[in-house]
Symmetry: D2
């Protein structure tokens, strides 16, 4: 395993929310990071973490975090942090994260605010760590010395691009993607989805989600330009997403149909082979949180299923199954991603591990 020379001090913004709680849970068991500072709204600031937080993880809060005093999300209060993980809501993330960046801090954000920024990379750690190459340009644009800002993708997009990446690598450009999601309630945060809205029910709409999937996929699977100063979105891929909320606690399930540019398209067996043999850069680097397999192929005909497969690879693997021909496009399959691990906090952490190996964070 690729370990840094010293344990890095982590600050967590939005630490009391569900993404923040997942950051706490994952980092408190992480050998390379120590939770140094926790930030939240001024309403929570000054309280102890356990006082201010309605903890909704199923494992208890780490003892040493319980009594940490929550700070306001001001850069000067986090100056001694080596790395900042932001689980902030998008209504405040824009200003706060920019302030942290301008203070030369290293920020890994789960918020959507800068995902479309022309010099901020949108990185799914088991897909496109090469996009870290824009950091040098980002630093010079903002006159930074050591700080930078990286975002991870929307939870549903994350699952999708992990599956598409090896297919694009092996079989060339993907012409079109139709994806239908069945998304867990934890994706909406806390309190999030009211039980009266989702018991014995489906909500076939999640605000902004389809647009995110249709855009972010093109940026993540696209290239940096040659000068590494900007991104080239996939030029000829169409993505159509339909997003649904379902009565599941964790784990987004997606039905995907795709069509390739090249004829003849690959067979289901070739697709399965590409999934199964995919090794991401994060794994090759030996990052601590990188799963043994970025993609797990389930051979049972009724899998993946969220309750039984979401924790595969500790939530860092994407599980696929039912790879078969599509009567309309070429191939269809099912995928499952743990929406609050790889689909949120976990991506931020694994991205930070990659940045350490790439020498972007001073250790």
């Amino acid at each position: 395993m690729n370990s840094p020379k010293r344990v890095l001090k982590a600050g967590i913004l939005g630490a009391t929310g569900t993404v923040g709680q997942r950051f706490i849970l994952l980092l408190s068991a992480h050998p390379h990071f120590t939770i140094h500072s926790v930030g939240a709204s001024s309403r929570s600031a000054g309280k102890s973490y356990c006082q201010a937080t309605k903890w909704r993880m199923t494992s208890p809060i780490a003892a040493d975090v319980k009594d940490m005093i929550i700070k306001e999300c001001k850069p000067e209060l986090f100056e001694d942090c080596d790395v900042i993980f932001s689980g902030l809501d998008s209504d405040v993330a824009g200003d706060i994260e920019m302030a942290f960046l301008k203070s030369d801090l290293v920020v890994f954000s789960n918020a959507k605010n800068y995902r479309r920024d022309s010099i901020v990379p949108l990185i799914v750690p088991t897909v496109n760590p090469s996009h870290f190459n824009i950091i040098s340009h980002q630093r010079s644009s903002h006159s930074l010395n050591k700080g930078f800002l990286v975002t991870n993708a929307n939870c549903s997009t994350t699952g999708l691009v992990v599956a598409l990446k090896p297919l694009q690598d092996s079989f060339g450009p993907i012409e079109s993607v139709i994806v239908h999601t069945m998304q867990a309630v934890s994706g909406a945060g806390y309190p999030g989805v009211a039980s009266l809205d989702i018991f014995d029910n489906i909500v076939p709409y999640i605000s902004g989600e389809e647009e995110k999937m249709e855009y972010e996929t093109l940026k993540i699977l696209g290239d940096l330009n040659q000068e590494a100063t900007g991104f080239q979105l996939l030029p000829s891929t169409s993505v159509s997403a339909s997003c649904n909320r379902v009565p599941v606690i964790d784990g987004h399930t997606e039905c995907v149909s795709i069509k390739f540019k090249n004829r003849p398209p690959p067979s289901p067996e070739q697709i399965i082979q590409a999934f199964d043999s995919y090794i991401s850069e994060a794994q090759q680097m030996g990052c601590y949180s990188a799963p043994e397999k970025a993609i797990i192929v389930q051979s049972e005909q009724d899998r993946p299923q969220p309750r039984f497969d979401r924790d595969n690879g500790n939530g860092y693997s994407v599980t696929v199954g039912r790879v078969r021909k599509c009567n309309v496009l070429d191939i269809k399959f099912i995928l499952l991603v743990h929406n609050t691990v790889l689909g949120a906090a976990g991506s931020g952490i694994l991205n930070a591990e990659i940045a350490v190996v790439k020498g972007l964070i001073k250790v």
Copy 2:
């Protein structure tokens, strides 16, 4: 309303199962039919209905059905029935329904066994009652006097074809359909889906379901040949289905993307207009169970939802919403169908009402 001259005697096969129970529930409140005989397996035969049945409807069993003695499913025991509704499981429906047909009885079957038969119509009452025109040929083929056999469609297919019918009528042939279902547990019968399989979970596979949707759609939306002796499946339409079981009690939700043959395709507004103005033959005939609207367009952006919309039109309407452009095909939308009313027993009953108006059942 179009009423028969006398109340017709109905026999129900498979009366203790979930489809059978729905037949009991709908017929016991029906002014044109009276429940005359109930049939089930030899294990139940001889017992009273309430003794033999684990009743799983949320309204109580009609008082006069409670004590009816269950018969074996033999045609001679149902000879005095004007019409037979079959909710039999497919493992026994084949032989029993054929025996009933050969005994010159009128059979409306919910089973899949004869849906692909070349002289048995597959009728969704608010879509293709014109397919009743094959009955005359069916009778002569089987040397029948008054009997015939009609099947209704698979529950998921039912919702889909109701939505596609007005689009095909208004905008010409549909080239391709990608449909993704989120199906209620009641579709699997009783005991059906184990709670340990579906709590906090999705099962992305339902045995045989995708094949049914991909085939039945083509038969229902296709034409009779000119001599009314056989069916012409839609020749150039491709359907690709992905079927999922979700933790919902009743109501199948479907995400549909379609592409039309004709260019340019209709706009979302034109599609909505076609849905909204659709009036099926069953409605025009004034059938008792025909809903006021075969298709209800929900304008709220997060609808239809099963818990709130499945009972629209007493379960005989299909509710659609979120009609919008698809980045890959032309148009996408959401639909909802009550899987055990219009998607099962209700189709059989409304088909019988149509047959009465068409003069196919002696009154």
Copy 3:
């Protein structure tokens, strides 16, 4: 049926909340009342009802209510209403309801604020309509001409006292009651219980609920004093309640153990007989909403169950089952009450019907 001479004009306070929505639903189908005015917070006032309301009933909003303009909850805006139904939250109900009362309006409140008031009756319509006798004293205390204020009970208490009433009537004082509730999420209003809190979970605590059950039972089953100027709480009955929130949409289930003062205590058969033969004053009066049976005894050993029994008597009946000996107290049984019909809005409406028959509302 006992009908008033004219249709009464109803005003609904807190009309956009879940209790308010249930009032709307029940009153829009009610022959004796017409929905005349709807009131809500100043945030909603001025909007149309359907604009301001996240409608969470499974039947649609009545057409004529949809476009009603919401008023602020000020008595002068409701002066022409014959009767006011309040579904207000307790944080505002205190002041508003008192203002309405002082304006000589007739108020039926579902809020807890005045349930312990020494001159406000706490009436469960199928239990203690005799407590209306305090109205004359209440009017004179507040110098009112035609107005008065009546509260209905907490939802869980309602189910309990309906079951206890015939037992007290038949077998004398009840010495002790241990009750354990499993309460539906709809009892917490909307958005109420977060799905992340209650999926695959039980919450063994509902703020203030146990105290309400332990107090209200004693007031409802107690007597008015002889002068009808105050209430005598049951002097020697102890009630111990444990209240739990469970993943059920509607319907509170309660496990009840009781001990009688008199020895020997009645047998389970005698208890069943007392339940089964109970006819409440509301039924005797022929009130429109009074159920055919105030208590329905289910003989199947695994009933009542909320999904299958909550709508008994259109939600106005209490269903009981599993009456058997208790090893510690005398008798134990299960009861089920529809928490938003008889347990909330329905009680208000049936109380109003009783008040009409009793001549307390001018018609």
Copy 4:
């Protein structure tokens, strides 16, 4: 930790069922036992474990168990096992377990069949390991050399007696117990509870469960007679149980009210102190699976909750909360037990660990 000198060979009967699966899961990660043989019905015998099993645990099957060939449950096929864990259904457990015992094998049974046997101990490992003292008498009665049979308790009883044990130890005899359970669906095995029976529902009845709680509590908390040849049930304790099935996957929640013999009864604070300071013999012995705390006291007012507390102590702890005065008996509180860990397979395993330390199993 107290480790045996060698790794013991374990055989598992009923290995494909839910209790059997839990045995597999717990044992495959256990340092002192190795899974040596798996047995199931003749229908499964001869198949590989993963072929024959619908695996319903959320962690995957251990690699070395996947391909084990299932044996029939005959003692001669398990002769080389040091210890047998039985997860057999009660309809077959009686004969099979007796045959294994008579073959001088060591059997830890989760089945109910021998729990009331006068020379078979019923042991909850964190409550009454002293009942192992009857083994010597059991062996001589059955003329055994090294074999014996021990049963663990019903899942709901297990939680109850863990909580009652320190109270009885600290405050003397308990006169009466009223307990209401809310039990998870996993307690009914697989397929077990149909989703159509339990979605949006409560089933207030579990066959035989109340009788088990009312009897087993008295045996477990009672004493061996002086000669260690039989059990003295608690002579003057009354237990009244009401058992309910709720829509929860794992974890039984119980509302308990108790009355002590001695007056005055302990205060809630004293009860909490007794819970908190309780150390069971299994912990003192340093058994591998013994939890750090046999009883965890949750101080938050709305806990314990099954989804958040069932895994406390890896499922071997009982969590209690809301200790308070009862208006009818003395004290009431809530407890939670993981029904398939401590409440089933886990008890068997921890009992085996105790037996090893006590020298009852040859190592």
